[in-house]
Structures are given as structure tokens and as C-alpha cells.
Point group: C2
Chain length 255, copies 2
């Protein structure tokens, strides 16, 4: 098994997951693999990203004939993939590696532009130009409660409601850091629900900009009901940064 | 007179200068101005950038009816301009301000990606992923000679040869700086000839990567003949960073 670590610019993808009619990152990757390996090949992703969401660390598992080294595979893929999808690394993995089930953590970042310059053509594709003043102390206070294991039913879209325990996520880290006039939300968890990071950012910033009272996140977590969540923050400022796997799943080959 | 300071992503522009059939930055700006001011309006740029070249500091002079403040003009323009063109600032200028002739210096940057990661979708639009090893000492030595006033005939494309003195440029500063695995060429001069920065980068990197002998730039400057210049570096990694005007041309209003 090979783990591909992928970068993609989400702007022109209808998300990660293969679809029959839309251009997706998985679809483009599988097309390139089929062309190189001359046989239909599945690239299973660690997680599904929404349309417009970027990745600097999506992981995909691919079964590749033994005659391909990871060095050759990576080089050959990057020669045929479109410019908005790129293999940053390729690792040889043990046969039991499964891109989704073996993952122990995912980490996302969300970029919030604080000044007008976030509307520049060089930044608007990656940042949400936030229009209201932010109380950073309130933001940090509201965010602190996320740490730990909770039912995130309030921060997800669901079809028919699945059982409660499948909505539990263990948040390893959630916090904000500022670089110049950009505010980054970094969040790592064992798993994420559909739209979860975008709902969290939308609600946290509503509190931090005075639209909703402090304690809203705690109340929503307890209510476990998504009817009062804030609108999700836009997808173009969200990036899947990294997927963690246990060290013992890695074999020696890397490229 | 108003000076507009412009950012643009050059990817989808056939350069700065208005053309009848191609999409250009000047063309889009003048279209937005005509719409707002309800009359045809010329936006004269400090310099022409080639197709694909970016700007974070192109300057354009515009004559605007007195009832418009620079604050209102900037806001209104940014509301109607396409996403790849943005007014970063607007300054009230004395009537004798002329975007091209009043400029005392232009500054460009050129971004050279040293590692494979420069091919990532997040970097490939702004960096030239340079494929050969670079000798930084040789690069600095070859660059040092550029400082001062020279005839840059060897580093420009010309139609019918203009008189020699119009090809003289005073280079105020030329040097390389490294940030992680990106190498930036910063060059400031009173004026630049057509393709000049790209020819300089192409030739300097040919020397620094061992393709041409040290001293090539000096020899070409003396020969004043462009038949032996290296191919120009690609446009997408070049950015017009700043245009300087004398302080006394600025009035108090800025936005």
C-alpha cells in the first residue's frame, strides 16, 4: 500500500469525493492513476473535503503494483496531474494501512482576514475577509471549551439522524493564532463531522463579534441540536493540513 | 488628480495596457471608472507589465470629478472591479502628477522556487520552480555589477533600435534574498526596458547554475547587443512591487 500526501487548491473542485458529473480531487487522482497503472485504481481518502476546501495534507491510500517505487510513482503522477492537484509525498505503508480507519487525527486550519488587505487578489482565494471587529479575549474563552470529547451534533449537517455515539469527536487541540492581520483557527481531532469546522468558525466568530452571547458554543454542545448553529463560514478559507497515522504503519520507502 | 495603487493577479490579464480584443488590467480599471464616473476615463499607468506579470504596487493616475473623495472612489471601485484587480490605496495628488513621468523609481521582485514544493498548487502561480542547483556566491557576484547606470540594450526586446541614451537605466538596488526555499530578486531602478527584469533573471540564473561563465552580465552590458542574452525567465513569478513619487506631489487625502 502507498500513502499519497496531497495538496489541492479547492477552487475548481467539487470537493474531494469522486462524483460522476463533477470535477473532484479524487476523480482527477484516480484518472491519473488509471492512466499510469493501466488499470482502474481506487484512491481512498482520509476524509471528504467540501467543495472549495483546500488541502495541504489530504492522505489517500492506493494499491500499486510492486514494480513501482514511491519515487517513480510520485514523479509520474506529478507529471500528469492537473496544476491544482499535487503529490507532496508518497510513503510505503504496511498492507493493513487504511487511509480512513487507520487515521488517529486530522488537523484543519481556517484563515480569517482581519484587514481590508485580505480582499487583495493574492489573499482572497485563501482567507475569509471578516467584516466585523473581533474581541480576541471572548474568542479564546469561547474556543477553550472545545477541547476534549463531545457530541458535535449541533455543529454538523445530518440527513436522517445517526446514533448519538457516531457524533462524538475527541478534539485534541483547538485554538487561534495571529500572524499579522490574519487569524488562524487550528483544530485537530480524531474525526470531524460534515461541515463541522465551518460551523464552529461561524459560531465562534458570531460570539467574538458580539452577535451572540458568550457561552453559546457550550450551550449548543449540550443541546446537541443543530437548529441554532450559526451559518457555516465559507469553504475557501478552510484547509485540511494533516492526517496522522501510527508510526508502525510506515515502511521504509518515502518520496 | 488621484493616484490609485493597484494589486493584480496577472494570470488572466494580457498585461497592463489596454487592448481592443484582450482582457487587460488597464482595460478593466477604465471600464469600472467609466461606469462609476459615467464618462470615459483614462487610467495612465506608471509602467506596462507583460502578460502574466503581477502587481502589488502598480500606480495609475486618474482625473476624477471633485465631488468624489478618495475614500469613496476606492470603496466604489473595489465593489465593481473583478476579483483579480484591487485598489490597495488611493492618494490625492497635485495636478502636475503624471503616473509615468513623475515616477522616480520602480521596484520589482522575482520569485524563484528552489525546492520541489514550489510546484505545489499554492505556490506554482507565483514562483518559477527552478530545476537546477544554484551557486549563491556566483549569483551574488554576477548581480553586483548591475548597480549604477548602464545601457541595458542587451537585456531588452526592441523593434527598430531607438537611440542609445533611451536605453540607459539607473539601477538603485539589485540583490537576492532567501526566505526558506524561495529566492527573491529585488531590483529597483529609475526605469525598466521591455522584458528587462525577466532577461536579467534568466541570464543571472544561467550563470549561477553553471550554464554560462561568470562575467556574462558585464560582457553583455558592454556589448550592448541583445543577441546573446539568455531566454527571459517566465512572467508569472515577476511582480511590480512599488512605484516611487516625490513626496511633494502628494496632497493630504489618502484612502
Amino acid at each position: 500500500m502507498v500513502q499519497l500526501v496531497l495538496h489541492y487548491d479547492g477552487a475548481r473542485f467539487a470537493g474531494w469525493q469522486r462524483q460522476t458529473k463533477e470535477r473532484t480531487a479524487q476523480g482527477e487522482l484516480e484518472r491519473a492513476l488509471a492512466r499510469l497503472l493501466q488499470s482502474p485504481t481506487t484512491a481512498l481518502g482520509a476524509g471528504r473535503t467540501d467543495a472549495g476546501v483546500h488541502a495541504r495534507g489530504q492522505a489517500a491510500g492506493v494499491r500499486v503494483p510492486e514494480r513501482w517505487t514511491v519515487v517513480e510513482l510520485r514523479r509520474a503522477l506529478n507529471a500528469v496531474l492537473p496544476g491544482d492537484l499535487w503529490v507532496a509525498a508518497a510513503h510505503e505503508m504496511r498492507p493493513e494501512f487504511h487511509a480512513r480507519y487507520s487515521a488517529t487525527a486530522r488537523r484543519y486550519s481556517y484563515a480569517v482576514g482581519l484587514g481590508e488587505a485580505s480582499r487583495s487578489p493574492f489573499r482572497r482565494a485563501w482567507e475569509w475577509a471578516f467584516p466585523r471587529p473581533i474581541d480576541f479575549t471572548a474568542l479564546d474563552a469561547e474556543t477553550a471549551i472545545l477541547q476534549g470529547e463531545h457530541c458535535f451534533r449541533a455543529f454538523a449537517v445530518h440527513g436522517t439522524a445517526p446514533p448519538t455515539d457516531s457524533l462524538r469527536c475527541a478534539v485534541h487541540r483547538a485554538g487561534w493564532r495571529r500572524e499579522g492581520d490574519v487569524l488562524f483557527f487550528d483544530v485537530a481531532a480524531n474525526r470531524f463531522l460534515h461541515h463541522m469546522v465551518r460551523f464552529l468558525v461561524g459560531t465562534l466568530l458570531d460570539v467574538a463579534s458580539g452577535r451572540r452571547p458568550g457561552g453559546t458554543v457550550a450551550r449548543l454542545l449540550l443541546a446537541a441540536d443543530n437548529s441554532e448553529v450559526s451559518p457555516p463560514a465559507p469553504p475557501h478559507a478552510l484547509c485540511l493540513e494533516h492526517v496522522n497515522y501510527p508510526d508502525d504503519l510506515y515502511l521504509s520507502g518515502s518520496a
